[in-house]
């Protein structure tokens, strides 16, 4: 195992563990936040960066090839699709008359 592969392994571990960390925070946010819109904050943002991190980690592990390019393509697609999906769900919720949670009311 030479020096280059060790550096690559360190980067892979760093990015993938970062992805797992942000997946964890988004999941805890989904469970802990008080209402629908605040939960969307957790999933919409957390999942985008987590997927980006995990895909970068796997792409570095895979190296510069056709497969690596396809992984990059998935990352670009998620970057475009995840905010749009979040926006679509939140708009549907607002049109259906869901009331956003306020600080004053204490319902969980």
């Amino acid at each position: 195992m030479n020096a280059v592969s060790i550096v690559i392994a360190i980067f892979v571990v760093l990015f993938t563990v970062g992805g797992l960390f942000f997946f964890t925070t988004s999941t805890i946010g989904l469970l802990r936040f008080p209402d629908f819109f605040t939960r969307l904050h957790a999933t919409g943002k957390g999942d985008t960066l987590a997927v980006l991190f995990s895909l970068i980690g796997i792409g570095i592990y895979e190296g510069l090839s056709l497969t690596g390019f396809k992984i990059l393509l998935i990352a670009v697609f998620m970057f475009l699709a995840q905010p749009t999906a979040t926006h679509a769900i939140s708009k549907a919720g607002m049109r259906c008359g869901l009331q956003p949670w306020k600080k004053e009311d204490n319902r969980k």
């Binding site: 475009l80 699709a81 749009t84 926006h87 679509a88 919720g93 259906c96 008359g97």
Partner: protein, 154 residues
């Protein structure tokens, strides 16, 4: 009746994504004998891209591109291609879908003939799957009146 959304964000993202999704679906169909996928999966993605167009641009604008009559024709053409290749093999003294017998017509070696025969069958399957998916979606969404849906279930 499927109305088009009044949301400009979803409409723009869909209109940018649809051509790429379709070329990806055709890639899945055409490379079915090297990688996973093939006729059925590619057909599903192709149908899903048209459904994305339907829910964002509405029924009227989509049927300008691919009319309901064309969808019905596509569904029967797909079955015709599939069965036609099978029967052609029968006529050449082989079994049903015995592609290697096609080498007499195509003027290539039996191995290449098998590859081409699989490709033809997959194209037929994908046509049928795409057409049936779109026609199911259209017939479900145009007959039911959505306004009767009560608000308690959200």
């Amino acid at each position: 009746m499927i109305r088009k959304t009044d949301d400009i964000i979803i409409r723009t993202v869909a209109r940018i994504l649809v051509p790429f999704i379709q070329i990806y679906a055709l890639y899945v169909i055409m490379h079915g004998h090297y990688s996973p996928g093939g006729g059925f999966q590619g057909g599903v993605i192709l149908g899903a891209s048209i459904i994305l167009l339907l829910i964002t641009h509405g029924l009227v604008e989509t049927t300008k591109k691919i009319s309901e009559r064309a969808i019905a024709i596509f569904s029967s053409i797909g079955v015709f291609i599939y069965a036609g290749i099978g029967v052609l093999c029968l006529l050449l003294y082989g079994n049903f879908l015995d592609y290697s017998k096609l080498s007499v017509i195509l003027n290539v070696t039996p191995a290449e003939a098998r590859s081409m025969g699989i490709l033809g069958v997959e194209i037929g399957v994908s046509f049928t799957v795409m057409a049936i998916m779109i026609s199911i979606f259209i017939s479900i969404s145009t007959t039911e009146d959505h306004s009767k849906y009560d608000k308690e279930h959200y």
